[in-house]
Symmetry: C2
Subunit: 351 residues, 2 copies
């Protein structure tokens, strides 16, 4: 397994583990024949599945674990338990046996253990959760999605730097448009830390194409490739988008159900409906990255299916191939954000 | 005009003022023949419109003003200018000549002038912006939508009390389900001030049907009648809902345009489309209330049309008839939130 890319997998994380995990790997290996897997989990459950999926068995090594992190476990409870499938899968990245870890388990625990085991990249104050989402004619990156409830300007600027690199790698955009989520497009509206972060990001030393603020109603309009927010606000925006999209679809279904005429027209619409379903299918965007750590942790949605899980693996593999973590390390080494922040404060005095 | 309900109107506020304002009053008077209006604005522009709408002329008195608050004006600039149509319209409520003021002008200025002129109700620390929105099978109330970027637990508890009364009055719900917007439904997730606010709201002295936290993806699911957030988060949620609803509709339109089959089916769908448009029409929800002041200020959307403006007037009239402001005053007099907060902190020690 030496020349191949190795992904460490928490086979016990997620709602239908380990079945969905093994089936997801089965799909992902078709697209990524060079991948090898370390499967951490209960042998008794995994082995019968590997018999069903011999292709997965061929590229995987099972490491038996007796414990697992449950959804209701508090991060503080599980962080010291080195025997869980999640902990051991993360540890495999730290020790160099794998280049990335994928888990569909408890997000809080995954972040806490990843932080403790992999450690934050030197120069980064706080790691963030980052994901890819659809906008009206493409995709964009949003972070932080919930790792940090309260953030200062330095945190926000670091998220912007990491999001910028993430968009270059994952979306293959040369010069991503980076914007801070804020209420009101005017310079002085919203929160003070966001104003300060904007001043830092506009420092030419950073070489970031920072376009200013993006208002929440423009998130899905494709005006920015990277949208930066504190974890509370980012999580609210993400979940409000998901909830509203479902709400609108429900409203439409409800109205169609009540109309005989609309029901007659339904066969004409089926192609469009399935196309929209496909383009907005959350499985296509599965896999949130924990960025800012010395190693790549990818969080799959807990309730996803095999296809969704395979997308999370794809994303992990892609970022490893592009040396994502090393690029962040290099970029963050070049700048001293605290200094840039001081500079922008001094400049403020002379204005 | 003594026995009638008088509404003071900033005739110069909004994108197409004063035309939309006068036309909006024309629609509203049909539904509310008892309303009388004080129109603050430029006579030269208002008088020709009143000739076009004699019914409006009959129920209105024009007070000529030479200045107006512009959209780009900063609240700090306009707050001392007593000659603007906005200032004078608000002043008419303070002096008792009108029972409510409606403006489609600059929200920040409207809040700042209202606060200075009408003053905050004794016992309320900060007024909030509140609106009615659609959910899957009804309507709900959300606040604060942007008046207060940072809020503590007392502010949030006050918003909940005011939102509770607002839902009783405006939505005619006997015991509104009041929930705090938070990420994660578990007690300890999200922000600390939200946890503290929950403890205050669960104090039986308050007599509020507080159901706990609501997650952003459930906002539109009808799980709460009143959703409480700080102004930054509330504004992000509101604008994300608006943006996402438009995004989904755009995606559908785009797909239908590209499909010949779907175009053929379109005539069957027109009834449903117009029905959905109607039920989600933002004009039906026009009119955000500035709550917590000694007087009722209603903010119409700046870009609304005459129908939308008439809805804002309806909302103002309804709340005045129900003695909304007096009810808040009575309810807030009954409780000492600082004391309840202390109590909940002490209780915390014994747990």
């Amino acid at each position: 397994m030496s020349e191949n890319l190795v992904i460490s997998v928490d086979a016990m994380g997620g709602d239908n583990s380990p079945r969905v995990v093994i089936e997801g790997i089965n799909i992902a290996t078709k697209r990524n024949p060079d991948l090898r897997f370390l499967l951490f989990g209960d042998e008794g459950q995994i082995m019968p599945l590997l018999q069903q999926y011999p292709k997965v068995a061929k590229v995987s090594k099972v490491i038996h674990t007796t414990e697992r992190v449950k959804n209701e476990d508090k991060p503080s409870q599980v962080i010291r338990n080195r025997n869980t499938s999640m902990y051991m899968a993360i540890e495999a990245v730290r020790s160099g046996r794998a280049q990335a870890i994928v888990s569909a388990g408890n997000t809080g625990a995954l972040m806490a253990i990843s932080k403790m085991v992999l450690k934050t990249i030197h120069g980064i104050h706080r790691p963030a959760i980052c994901t890819i989402m659809p906008h009206i004619d493409g995709k964009f990156v949003m972070l932080d999605l919930g790792a940090n409830t309260e953030c200062d300007e330095i945190n926000l600027a670091e998220f912007a730097i990491m999001g910028n690199i993430f968009a270059k790698h994952a979306l293959e955009i040369k010069s991503p448009r980076v914007a801070l989520l804020n209420i009101g497009a005017e310079e002085m509206k919203g929160k003070e830390e966001i104003h300060h972060a904007l001043r830092i990001l506009r420092n030419p030393q950073l070489d970031i194409n920072c376009t200013g603020y993006v208002e929440p109603h423009d998130i899905s309009n494709g005006v920015a490739d990277v949208i930066v927010a504190d974890g509370f606000t980012g999580n609210v925006a993400l979940k409000t988008i998901e909830g509203t999209a479902k709400f609108v679809v429900k409203m439409i279904k409800k109205s169609v159900k009540r109309s005989i005429l609309a029901k007659l027209g339904l066969p004409f619409m089926l192609g469009v409906v399935s196309k929209i379903k496909r383009s907005m299918d959350p499985r296509n965007y599965n896999g949130a990255m924990l960025v800012g750590l010395n190693g790549l942790t990818v969080k799959s949605h807990g309730g996803t299916d095999a296809f969704g899980y395979s997308v999370a693996i794809d994303n992990a593999a892609k970022l490893v191939r592009q040396n994502f973590v090393a690029t962040i390390r290099q970029e963050i080494e070049k700048v001293d954000l605290d200094e840039l922040n001081q500079e922008s404060i001094y400049e403020g005095y002379y204005l």
